[in-house]
Amino acid sequence: MGRLIRYELRKLFSSKLLYIITAIFTTRTVLQAIVLAFIENSSISMLVNSSLYGFFALYVLFVGAWIAPTFISPDYSSGGILPNVVSRGYSRIQVFLAKYISLIVFHVFAFVVSSAIGIIVGLPLVRDMSGTVMNSMQLDRLLKMFIACFATLSLQVLFSVACRIKSAVFFSILSTNPFLALIVCFLPFFSPNGRFIPWLSKFIMDWYVPFAYIKVIISNAFEQIGAASVIKVDFSYLVISSIIMFALSFGGSIWVVSRKEISK
């Protein structure tokens, strides 16, 4: 297993994509840090929160859906490198776990580098250096975001192992599409009678993690601009729904890979 992880990490850190995506994340946090220089009451708390949360926003909105399919799907598609690994005795589940772990390393790397650079650049620019960096509520929310991000990633991984690359990218984007989430979120306004659809909409937004996750990001953005009352976010389901989605996606991926025949 150790060799497999080393092999995957060597592949990962030789990939230009890792550095391109990290650069995109970093550019965003740096720009946001620069914006803080023009905000009169910018604080250290705003800097840290925007740097950390920004990762999740950009991840879901633009980048995340591409990462898992790009790194995992080609190996499971025709002509992939998998025969050279499985034929030397590594089990399909071990191979999958090594890929999963390397994908997490990828995300942690991009998160840590982009957040750290954003904070370092922003420190001289913020006006108010006093006060709490992050209160307990923000920390709690950040942890929940991590869990939700993890569940979303697992869903994308499931598509990546089950589909060829193009289909994997398509389903991955579709599953975490923020515009689709917004439509679901605002379905009550299009309901002819205003009764059934609000319930369905709320159910989906609470229990389907990628959409719940988008709701959290939107609410966080509103909070940042002092309009927290516009979207009320109920966080009570987020952890449990994330755990359920992670279990289903992860279990589904294991089920798929352990039965996968490499015929081409």
Partner: protein, 300 residues
């Protein structure tokens, strides 16, 4: 002799079609076993089964004496199945470095296999820009990495020029001779295969129709002279006395003599000087290719 690979009633079906049907075979240590069959006969499927890439519908596979395919026995097996699977955006050396992590090989091994397949001079050139033959060589290098005891090669000389084919052939023979490496090779190039294998397996429609040693095959594929002569029995007696009973026979109105095709002029002279009237001499040969084509019931 220790069996490296043994299959018992191995079957693999895709839908209603049996790609491999009830195959029982044994490859012993030190064998260079060649698989021959038409396209779609089941050669590659059988190799994939042995390498755990696909799962058998029924039957058993025993590798290095173990009845299950495990890390322990598969790690002693190198392979190249169909087209080589490579990191196309990496150099040959980087490809090998990545696989070396998995196969437990070191830098010396990498340099050795690069030398073996004559890819040391490729530098930073990406594998994606290699010719088909170079990719094939790199695929073979990956199969050799980690010094496996058993190597499975599916069409290994595909895309190679005659010189490249000879190099690979020499490499196979050398590894077999010096390290005792066992090989299972499939190829359409029967002539090429016949220069290295010690044993053949003929596959038709998923069924292993015959396993035959190279030695026995050679005996079956004799070259003969068919001599039309006025006194068949007299000529048979004369030639038997000269060349031995085993290689002379009568077939209808002709005398058949095996393995002396290059002596046709001398035989003719001998018969003429003994008063026989020879009205025709024709050479006939059952070569290896004809034999296989016959066994497979059609063209390759």
């Amino acid at each position: 002799m220790e069996a490296v690979l043994r299959t018992e009633h191995l079957t693999k079906t895709f839908g209603n079609k049996a790609a491999v049907n009830d195959v029982s075979m044994t490859i012993e240590k030190g064998d260079i076993s060649g698989f021959i069959g038409k396209n779609g006969a089941g050669k590659t499927t059988l190799m994939r089964l042995v390498l755990n890439l696909i799962f058998p519908t029924s039957g058993t596979i025993e590798l290095f004496g173990e009845s299950k395919l495990t890390k322990a026995n598969l790690s002693r097996t190198g392979s190249l199945i169909e087209a080589p699977t490579l990191f196309l955006n990496c150099s040959a050396r980087e490809n090998l470095k990545r696989f070396a992590i998995l196969y437990g090989a070191d830098n010396n091994d990498i340099e050795n296999v690069l030398k073996e397949v004559d890819l040391t001079g490729t530098g930073n050139k990406k594998a994606g820009k290699f010719s088909f033959g170079m990719k094939q060589r790199l695929g073979i290098a990956i199969a050799l990495l980690g010094n496996p005891d058993f190597i499975i090669l599916d069409e290994p000389v595909n895309g190679l020029d005659p010189e490249g084919m000879k190099e690979i052939r020499d490499l196979i023979l050398r590894l077999n001779r010096e390290k005792g490496t066992t090989f299972l090779i499939s190829s359409h190039l029967i002539d090429e295969l016949s220069k290295v294998v010690t044993k053949y397996g003929i596959i038709r429609d998923g069924v292993l129709v015959e396993e035959i040693s190279a030695e026995n095959l050679k005996k079956k594929c004799t070259h003969t002279l068919k001599i039309t002569v006025d006194n068949v029995d007299g000529a048979k007696a004369l030639l038997s006395a000269a060349y031995g009973n085993d290689c002379v026979s009568v077939d209808g109105g002709t005398v058949v003599i095996s393995d002396h095709n290059d002596e046709s002029a001398e035989i003719n002279k001998k018969l003429f000087e003994s008063g026989f009237s020879v009205s025709g001499i024709e050479t006939a040969a059952t070569d290896i290719e004809s034999y296989f084509i016959e066994m497979m019931g059609g063209e390759l």
